[in-house]
Structures are given as C-alpha cells and as structure tokens.
Symmetry: C2
C-alpha cells in the first residue's frame, strides 16, 4: 500500500512510522509530508521511532511538498485543526482518484470540513488515543497508548493498520467518541494553559472542580442539542474527566505547551468550537466562551515583553 502522511507532526510520524516499519520487514511505501527541519533529518538518517518497546531508524520518504501525496492509496491527514482547509486545498490537485483520507486530528468537525474541500474523495474521521511528541528533528517519541477508532467508511484499511501493530476499532459513532475527547480537552486544556499549571496541581485549586463541571455541562448540552450521542453519557464523561488528573498529574495540556512556546493553539477547535456551536444552537456556553477568549488574548501575546504599569 502506498501511504502519505499530510502534516507529519508527532501523531503522523508515529502512525506513518509504524506503517513503514510494519511487521517482518514487509512495510508499506510511506511518505511523510512535514516541516523542512524534519524532512531533512529523515532523509539523512531515517525517522527515529522511539517507543517503550523499541528504538529504531525507519526508512521512508519525506518531503515538504504537498504534491508528494501523489499516488497514495491512503492519506493520513494530521495537520492542526486550524489548517484543515488550507492543507486540503494544497493536496487536492495531487490526490489519486479513490484515495482514502483518514483524519487523525483533534476537534470534532475536521472530516466534515475536509469533505467540503474534497467532495469527490473518501474522507473518514478517526479518534486518536496516543501520547507522542517530537523529541527533535526526525525523532518521534511514543509515551503511551495508540488506538484508533475509525469510521466504517475506512474499514478497508483496518487490516493493514492492525497488521502494522495499531489497535483499530471500527465504530459507527466516531462523532460521539470525538466529542467525548473534545469534552476532556475543553475541561483541561484552557485551564492548564491560562494558569500554566500541570493537571494534578491545577485540579486542587479553589473552585477548579466547579469550573470544570460547568465546562463539561455546557459541552454536554451543546452535544445533546447537536444530536450527538456521547458513549456512556454524562456519568462516563465525568468519570473520564476525573481520571485524566489522576493518571496524568504532571501533564501540561497541548494548549499550555503551545502558549509556552509562543505558538498558536487549537483553542478555536476546542472551547471555541463549543462556544460557536452553542451560539448556533441557542445553548449558552459562558464558561467555554470565557476560557476561549482568555486563551486567544494570551495566544496573541506571543513573545511580547511583559509590561508592568
């Protein structure tokens, strides 16, 4: 199978690397489309794929040119949520007819938005449960998990993914599972980013449990108004929210990491999405809107010097 990864950050490099490595040397023909620093390192020495089980250099193609999707049967689409439309337009003229695009992204509407850009292609959503990071140029580090939940329209690639060591579940409620993950992100990401606190310390702050409960309740109300069925409902969601701080007390949210590095965050597709969707559906989301507003102001601060009055 010919595979391309569009937007190969930590998530894309991990899955692309597993597919290229595959089992007993019978890997797939994988091309990572990534930032130039990663491309250069990967072309020179391969992708360094470091997991708890192995640490290998995987040989695959790398390019910073979106045209490198040409010929791919499967495109793992893993750009940041804010770049979906633009990246879709960049690869559009080069896609093989009949190619399957699998969105490995946060946020709940990326597949929908990509379908609008690529109406003639098969675009499927996936929920990604993995902890990875780019530890350096061309070096992806895997910290845990790795399962994918994919839509039935992508079921044809499940055997290849499974053969490459990826746990895959085909499920007809990917939208509900994406929302469940969105709610966890809404509960933690902005709070951790604004307060620059890891989860374990953060949840012990005065009032934090109440604020998280407000965030979750607003999300559930919007999901319900939008016809989304969250797996396990309210009780499962609240239990999952509690578990995050218990199992990852030292973790800073990706939004916190983005702000600390002076980068734009995905907040428009987390609390910002819930606020926009709530406004469209007539469901009040005052706390999600407030946290989105705060993160946007902090985000735009960039590397600006702090001025005291």
């Amino acid at each position: 199978m010919k595979v391309a990864v569009m937007g190969a950050g930590a998530v894309g490099c991990y899955y692309g690397g597993l597919l290229a490595r595959a089992v007993r040397g019978a890997g797939h023909d994988v091309t990572l489309i990534a930032r130039p620093a990663h491309v250069e390192a990967i072309q020179r020495t391969g992708l360094r794929l470091e997991t708890q089980g192995f640490d290998e250099r995987v040989r695959l193609h790398a390019s910073s040119d979106p045209a490198a999707v040409a010929g791919a049967d499967l495109v793992l689409f893993s750009v940041k949520s804010g770049a979906t439309e633009q990246a879709g337009a960049q690869i559009k003229p080069h896609l093989k007819p009949g190619a399957l695009l699998l969105c490995l992204q946060n946020g709940v509407d990326n597949a929908e938005r990509l379908r609008a850009v690529l109406p003639k292609h098969n675009v499927a959503a996936a929920v990604v449960y993995v902890a990875t990071e780019m530890a350096g140029p061309g070096h992806v580090k895997h910290h845990g998990r790795g399962e994918l939940v994919i839509e039935p329209s992508a079921a044809a690639v499940a055997p290849a993914l499974i053969a490459a060591g990826i746990a895959v579940e085909v499920n007809d409620n990917v939208r509900g599972a994406l929302w469940a993950k969105l709610i966890l992100n809404c509960a933690y990401n902005a709070l951790s980013a604004i307060t620059r606190r890891p989860y374990g310390v953060m949840v012990q702050g005065a009032g934090v449990q109440d604020v998280m409960a407000d965030l979750v309740a607003e999300c559930l109300a919007v999901a319900s108004a939008d016809g989304v069925v969250i797996p396990g409902g309210k009780a499962a969601t609240e239990a999952a929210v509690r578990r995050i701080a218990e199992t990852m007390p030292g973790q800073y949210s990706s939004t916190a990491q983005d702000l600390m590095r002076g980068k734009l965050s995905e907040i428009d597709h987390l609390n910002g999405y819930v606020a926009r969707r709530g406004a469209a559906l007539g469901v009040p989301t005052p706390v999600n809107r407030a946290l989105w507003t705060l993160v946007k102001l902090l985000e735009n601060q960039g590397q600006e010097t702090q001025v005291t009055a």
Copy 2:
C-alpha cells in the same frame, strides 16, 4: 481634629496628606499607620504628596504600630479588603470611644465586616474615586479624581474633609455605589490580570465584549437578589463599563499589578465575592467564578519558576 489612617497605602496617604496639609496651614493632627519603609521615609522628610496641582512635603506623624490610632476622632480605614478583620482587631483596644471609622476600601462589605469586629464603634462606608500610587517610600502620587461618597452616619466629618479640598457627597445609597464600582472591577480586573493586557488592548480581543457582558449581567443579578439598588441601573452600569476602556486604555488593573508583583490580590472581594454571594442567594455566576478561580491559581504561583513540559 485628630486623625489616624489605618493601612496607609496610596489611598490612605493621599487623604491623610490632604487633611494634614488642609488649607492655609491649618491642618489636622494626622498619623499614618503604614509599612516600616514608608514610616521611616515619612519620619525623615515628611510625606511627599505629588498632585497635578502641587508637589509638597507634608509634615505628619507616622508609625507602624496599630496602637497609634489612640486618641483619633476620625480613623480612615484603608487596609486591603482581605485584612479588614485582622486590622480591626489590631486597633480595637486602642480606639477612642466615639471615634468614627470611615472605610476607604474596595469591595462592598468591608464596613459590615469591620462593624462585626468593632460593634461599639461608629463604622461608615465610603466609595473612593481616586487614582493614586505609591511612587516610592513616603511618596504618594495622585493621577486623578478624588471624590468620596460617604454614608449619612459619617456626615459630621464632611465639612472637615471638604475644607481640606476633598469633594464629598453624603448619600444614603453608598451600598449601591460600592456595588456599581464593584461591577466595574469585576468586568475589568480579572481579565486584565489573567491576560496581562491593558484595558484598551484587552477590550478589542475576540469575545471580550461578550465575556464582560456576562460578568456584568451576573453581578446585576446577584445585586438585585441581594436587594441592592445600583444607581442608574443596568444602562448606567453598562455605559460606565464601556467608559473605563475609553478613558483609561493604558491602564492595567490593580489585580494585574498585584500579580505582576507576585502579591496577593483582592480578587476574593471582587469576582470571588460575587460568586460567593451568588451561591448564597441561588444566583448562578459561572463566569465570575471561573475568573476568580483562574486568578487564585495565578496568584498562588507567586514567583515560582515557569516549568515547561
């Protein structure tokens, strides 16, 4: 008249300085009870009182001992809201019977809380409209305004204040006026503190107007449930909120300044008060509660080193 200023920061030094200076040299006998650094400077060279109209050294007494309230007919009480009970207890054994205590503080319940500590004394609330800062040890700088609105129970000292050049209004709805000021603080202080932005830039952020409208609406609902009559009602409050950013675009809130200096803020008596009062009265205040929660987490951060993940 013998006057003491308990908690002589910028506000207390300004009014105490005006009373000591008074007109044509006929000043009052004023004692500032302040932090040692200010006391030392004031004892050495007097209080430097710098206004747009004059820049003078005013001779008055200064002490860091709360017992220095002894003999005062009027005590200007200007400690931070969080210190009201403690400071009240410190001066209690030394107060002259019949002394009037005038609270020159932010927050709406300081006089009430001070009365609980000093049930036998005459405690009156005031609303303070002044922009001042301590520009150095023993040096208070006046940036604008200076009016006081005081309760009828303090009317007896109005002539002396007016004679010292202080604009005074006696009003039987000081509580409403304190709430009106509280609402302005709730709309601006936490947002400016969390985002480290001056008002003019802050109000232009995406969503900020909506968040401020939510904050104000929650405050008005709590005030109404608490039987408070805000002068001018909703329309006047919203107009006053808009005016702040227009007239003070470069201003950082006092809460922002406290956080930048690693100091505790008065947030418990601003958004925190509204959240507590709302909870007691059954009025939801999700946005005030969220901002209070965030400021508390940032406040406790103190001078801690920022750790990146």
